[in-house]
């Protein structure tokens, strides 16, 4: 696939470089980035040359190369690679400003037997399981509608994109207010149609339980109560933020589906759902796959809005893994434990990405 990705692009021409074919367009960038490693054929020009003059030139080129690479590489080593090693060390310590006691794997065993961690993983998984299909489904649906040559397409795209580019803290602050039990517009709306007001972000009880109680007047068993309303409220916010992004990516993907395929299928009498099911969806699968991985990783990183809206509460109803790591670090100053938690989360994310690759990779159709 890598080679094809390169081959598809027309040979670069001088006039086209500054304006057309921005490398920023998603279909290119979303491909696994191994693609163009071979293009420049390094070393080829050096081969078969002799002479002191050229060697010196060659040496100075190497020197310049390393000089240019140095700032980025030093920064990456200091702030990305070294912290992994350092983090492993910290996680094996009882850390109070320094390693006061080497405790080996204690932090890990404590984390794995800590119900708080499993609860956090459960909350994160619930969050991901609801928000990922919701976001991607809505995004694909709206993108497909927009693709049907609607009037004002540009305006719609602009509007849908607004939530995504807004500062998270600011929009989370507004949403907290929308959700406010006494002053919020959501409860005003509920009262208007005669339903009981809700506690939203401060409601630890499950949504099925609440729905059964307020709509049917019956109770449901605890195991059936579903995710807490607080968590669902956060998911609604996340969906609001990210749908515009998904739409933009899906639209880019839809733009790549060759229109001749539609024409051919229409000649065969296909229409509507059949077209979507048999042409659009399979051809869109690389885009969907990219978004899937990206969104799942995103839900595991979810922090800013959770912290602003609930700080993980009520109780631990919205304490995602990321929030738990932060709490242990920021509020409890348990550096070693927090570092161990982070590594466990890292392992889970890696595992998930590999599993997704295995599962979905087989079903993804390229070209």
């Amino acid at each position: 696939m890598g080679a094809r990705c390169v081959a598809q692009r027309p040979p670069p021409e001088l006039m086209a470089v500054p304006s057309a074919r921005s490398p920023a367009s998603p279909p290119v960038a979303t491909q696994p980035p191994r693609s163009t490693v071979h293009v420049s054929a390094p070393g080829a020009s050096a081969a078969g040359r002799g002479g002191a003059r050229i060697t010196r030139r060659r040496l100075s080129e190497i020197g310049l190369g390393y000089t240019l690479l140095a700032p980025a590489v030093v920064l990456l080593l200091t702030f990305e690679v070294f912290p992994i090693v350092y983090g492993a060390y910290i996680s094996a310590c009882d850390w109070r400003l320094q390693c006061t006691q080497f405790v080996g794997l204690d932090n890990y065993t404590r984390a794995l037997t800590d119900s708080a961690m499993w609860h956090a993983l459960l909350v994160t998984a619930t969050y991901a399981l609801i928000s990922v299909p919701l976001q991607l489904g809505l995004g694909l649906w709206i993108a497909y509608l927009l693709y049907q040559k609607v009037r004002g397409q540009e305006m719609f795209r602009m509007l849908f994109f607004l939530p995504y580019i807004t500062s998270t803290v600011a929009s989370a602050a507004v949403w907290s207010y929308l959700y406010s039990p006494d002053k919020g517009i959501l409860n005003s709306a509920l009262r208007l149609i005669g339903l009981p007001a809700q506690q939203w972000l401060t409601e630890p009880r499950g949504v099925f339980l609440l729905a059964a109680q307020s709509l049917l007047g019956v109770s449901v068993p605890l195991w059936l109560q579903g995710p807490s309303l607080a968590l669902v409220s956060l998911i609604a916010f996340t969906t609001w933020v990210f749908v515009g992004y998904d739409i933009a990516i899906f639209l880019a993907g839809l733009g790549n589906v060759p229109t001749e395929l539609y024409d051919a299928a229409k000649v065969d009498g296909a229409s509507g759902w059949t077209l979507f099911r048999n042409i659009t969806f399979p051809l869109l699968s690389p885009t969907t796959f990219f978004l899937l991985i990206f969104t799942v990783i995103g839900t595991f990183k979810a922090f800013n809005h959770v912290w602003v809206m609930t700080e993980g509460g009520p109780g631990d109803a919205t304490t995602t893994a990321s929030v738990l790591i932060f709490q242990q670090l920021y509020q409890n100053n348990r550096y070693g434990y927090s570092a161990a938690l982070a590594f466990i989360l890292f392992a889970v994310i890696l595992l998930l990405t590999v599993v997704q690759n295995r599962l979905a990779g087989r079903r993804v159709v390229y070209d």
């Binding site: 490398p23 163009t36 070294f82 350092y86 983090g87 719609f156 995103g298 979810a302």
Partner: protein
């Protein structure tokens, strides 16, 4: 990212099409509503907020636009203890300094590294490139604790250094610019050498001017990301005059802004407006930049 629409048969507006517009309009309303609500609330009086009055202005109410809320918000956010400058000014200044530092810093390191990776004959550069890409796979949380400890060790805690330096390298930037530089024909360099240029002159006077769109993309990415940063500044700053806008807003929300929602909303408007203005000015480029890579967590 031109969107080619599927061809559709010509016929008058059908029920389905009406449904399509209905869904789209609903979605657009949902996207826009919180902004409208934020703007409206920011010019309401406290009593209208408490009494939950949706529209306190004529013709339904007698209230005038409470524009003084913005001044009141600045008062309520507080002042720097030493210099007496309003903290909001500090927040904005900090955000601008940090954002500028990150944007310029990451642009510089990315351009240099990308050029070396794309055009210079350096042994081991493919390995280096793979290394750069591998860094993308490491989630931010995994290195959060050691990075914070590192800031203490370097004595960078509560300084601009901590807010800026770790983010002056942008892996996506290196990748994007490398791809772009590879598209610039080699003959151009050969011609430049004929004119007596070295690599550096060629990079500065030819490659960079040709790469404005890609560089703008990288700059926009860094801009949105750093303007939105929250978790890291919360962890590595202590003093109120070192806060960036996001942290300041969150602290205000858990303090006075929690009761005086109209002031909180005025503050939020002030945070949101710069990005929105930026977005409207550079719409298409902006959207393409952001959709290139996921940058928001």
């Amino acid at each position: 990212m031109a969107v080619v629409s599927a061809p559709r048969p010509r016929r008058p507006m059908s029920l389905t099409r009406a449904g399509v517009y209905l869904v789209l309009l609903l979605g657009a309303t949902a996207s826009l509503l919180p902004f409208v609500y934020m703007l409206m609330t920011s010019v309401k009086s406290y009593s209208s907020v408490v009494n939950n009055t949706l529209w306190p202005w004529p013709p339904f109410g007698a209230e005038s636009l409470q524009l003084q809320n913005y001044a009141l918000a600045i008062q309520a956010i507080g002042f720097d203890r030493q210099t007496g400058t309003p903290l909001l000014v500090r927040y904005v200044a900090n955000s601008v300094v940090v954002t500028l530092g990150i944007v310029l810093g990451s642009l510089l390191t990315s351009v240099l590294a990308a050029y070396a990776l794309a055009r210079l004959n350096v042994p081991g550069k493919n390995l280096l490139f793979l290394f750069v890409l591998a860094v993308i796979m490491v989630p931010e949380d995994a290195t959060l604790v050691p990075k914070v400890v590192l800031m203490y060790n370097l004595k960078w805690y509560n300084t601009y250094m901590a807010l800026i330096v770790p983010f002056t390298v942008n892996v996506f930037g290196i990748f994007l610019l490398r791809q772009w530089f590879l598209q610039i024909p080699k003959e151009l360099f050969e011609a430049a050498v004929m004119d007596g240029m070295g690599h550096l002159r060629y990079l500065i006077s030819i490659v960079i001017p040709l790469s404005k769109p890609a560089m703008l993309t990288v700059a926009l990415l860094s801009f949105i990301w750093s303007w939105d940063s929250f978790k890291w500044p919360l962890l590595v700053t202590r003093d109120s005059n070192m806060r960036v806008l996001g942290v300041g807003l969150q602290q205000f929300k858990s303090g006075e802004g929690g009761t005086n929602v109209q002031l909180l909303m005025a503050f939020a408007i002030l945070v949101v407006v710069p990005v929105l203005v930026f977005y409207f000015l550079t719409q298409k480029q902006f959207r393409e930049a952001v959709t290139t890579v996921g940058i928001k967590g």
